[in-house]
Structure formats: C-alpha cells, structure tokens
Amino acid sequence: MKKTNPSFLNGVPELLVLRLLARQEMYGYQIVEEIRTRTGEALAFGEGCIYPYLHYLEAEKQVSSRRQEVEGRNRNYYKLTARGRKRLDELTSEWNRVTTGVALLMEEQHA
C-alpha cells in the first residue's frame, strides 16, 4: 500500500528550521528573518512563536542549544543534532515525494 502523507503540511516548519540549522548554528530572530527573506516573504513565523517550536525540537533531541555571547549580546544558539539530521533527511524525501506528485498532477491539468 502507498504511504499516505497526512502530515506533510504540518512538517513544513520543521523542515524549514532543520534545513536552516543544517547549514549553521542560529538564534531565534535569525531563523525567523532567514525564513522570511529566503522564501521571498511567502512564509513567515509569527515573531516570538518560533521559541516553543525550537524548545519542542530540543525536547525531541533534534536540535541542541547553548547560551552564547557574541558581540556583547547573549543569545540562545540552536544547532542540528545527529537525530535532527536524520529527521531532516526523512522530511526532505517526504517533501520531494509530495511535490513531485503535485507537479505531475498540475502538468496533467495543463496538458
């Protein structure tokens, strides 16, 4: 039986955050800004609402955090863990599967 994808939209914020953290360690404001700018403002987290989400990812051991002072500012920096990287791979392949399926359907409609 084909795998269903009931949570593919629920997984989008997780995919975005893990994808950004795969590149470098980041803090909350930086993640919100990166998502906004790199998606051409198509997607945006509510200011401040990223934090419970990051705490959830931390509780799931997908990211780890540390308090660090950079240029006189203390912030919580988040980075991807090995479990987070594995989860990112899963979400990426799921996303590719869904977008390929949607693209096929759209092409059919245009043909």
Partner: protein, 234 residues
C-alpha cells in the same frame, strides 16, 4: 514607552505556563525584541521609534503570550492530544499504574521492614499489634498509589500547558476508579481488584484523594500567580 516584557510574563504565568518555560520564553522573546530594535536602529530610526517598531512587530504581549501557550501546547504529544491524554488514557492507565505503584511500595516495605525475610513478616502478621500497624501501612500505600497516579496526570497536564480542566477530568477518572477498586488485607492474605459489590463500594476516602490532589495543584498554581504579582508590585 509601555513595558512589553512584564505583561508578557504576567500573562504566561496567569495562563499556567510552567515557570521554567516562562523564564526561558521571556528571556528569548526579550532577546528577539532587542534584535528587532537593533535592526530598526540600523535603518536609522530613533531609539523611541525603534522600540515602538519592535513592540509593533511582536504585537500585543497578552496575545503573544496566548500564542506562545498555544504553540507550547502543540509542541507536546500530551498537549496536542489532550482529549486522549487526559480524558481517555487515565481510563486505561489508572488500573495498571495503581497496581504497579502499589506493588512497588509493597516490595519496598518488605525490603526495608523485613529484609526480604518471609518468616519475619509471618511473625509480624501473627501479632495483632504489628498486624494493625502493617494494615495501616498498607492502607497508606494504597492511598499513596492513588495520589501518585493523580499527581502524574496533573503534572503532565501542567507540563503540556493544557487548561486546568484537563487536570480535573483526569483526577475525576482516577476518583471513579478509587470508588470501585479495592485492597483487602487479611491475617495471611492480600487482594486487590475491581468491584461494584455493595459491600465494598463506595470508598469515599479513596475517591476523595484525586480530588485533593487536583485541589492542591490548583492552590499551588494560584499561589505562584499571587507570588509573581507581589514580586512585580514590590
């Protein structure tokens, strides 16, 4: 400029957010606000304008606190599935947890009181005075097991930031079980089980324990809010 952080903190506490989470969320939102302000200053805005823009971007602190609580709820399995977690799971989990905790307490009592020596226990049981003490201890263990199960669900409800009514619901289910589950001690026997037999039910003391636990959790929450308000006022 109206303060942004204190109303946020106050509302989070009022909504029953765990204090550890309150401290962390407030610290991170304060950092976030400072970042927004610095970005506005970098664009050439004045200090007052930059603060105003940071506050506008974050929105109403009361609404932000409510959003944060909703996000916090969604971030845990218990919060996302609160009907299952606190309305249905206690129905299935209570008998198992209660029996398990009671057995663990019994094992502890046997290990501490009689060093795993069945003969010593038999001597104690045959003595009416020590039997009475033993019987009281077993009743206490039964009550402690009931309280522990109720406390477990209460703590999970608090940690997953769901409304207090879910603690009450979980405790009410534990209370119903308290009415119909029983523990019986004889000179040489111990039995526990579930019954609707008129001779054994209702057991009001056992049924009252989960409600007392819910009441204690409520009082602790109110006290935390009151202390916080006093700290802010002071």
């Amino acid at each position: 400029m109206p303060d942004f952080i204190e109303p946020l903190r106050r509302r989070l506490v009022e909504l029953g957010c765990p204090m550890k989470q309150v401290r962390r969320l407030v610290r991170e939102v304060a950092d976030h606000r400072e970042d927004l302000k610095q970005a506005a200053l970098a664009e050439g805005l004045s200090e007052t304008e930059a603060e105003a823009r940071a506050n506008t971007s974050l929105g109403d602190p009361v609404l932000l606190a409510e959003d944060l609580m909703a996000s916090l709820r969604r971030s845990t399995w218990w919060g996302r599935h609160h009907v299952v977690a606190f309305g249905l799971l206690p129905l299935l989990a209570y008998p198992v947890l209660w029996a398990l905790l009671f057995t663990l307490e019994l094992a502890l009592e046997f290990a501490l009181g009689y060093s795993w020596d069945a003969k010593k226990l038999q001597v104690a049981v045959n003595n009416p005075v020590t039997f009475r003490h033993l019987s009281l201890a077993l009743h206490f263990m039964d009550y402690a097991a009931i309280a522990s199960v109720a406390l477990l669900f209460g703590r999970l409800a608090r940690r997953s930031a769901v409304k207090f009514k879910w603690t009450v619901i979980a405790c009410a289910i534990c209370s119903v079980y308290g009415l119909f589950t029983w523990v019986s001690f004889g000179m040489h026997s111990l039995s526990l089980g579930f019954t609707v037999s008129a001779s054994l039910v209702p057991q009001w003391t056992r049924a009252a324990i989960p409600h007392l636990v819910a009441g204690a959790i409520y009082i602790l929450q109110r006290r935390t809010i009151r202390r916080f308000r006093e700290q802010v006022a002071g």
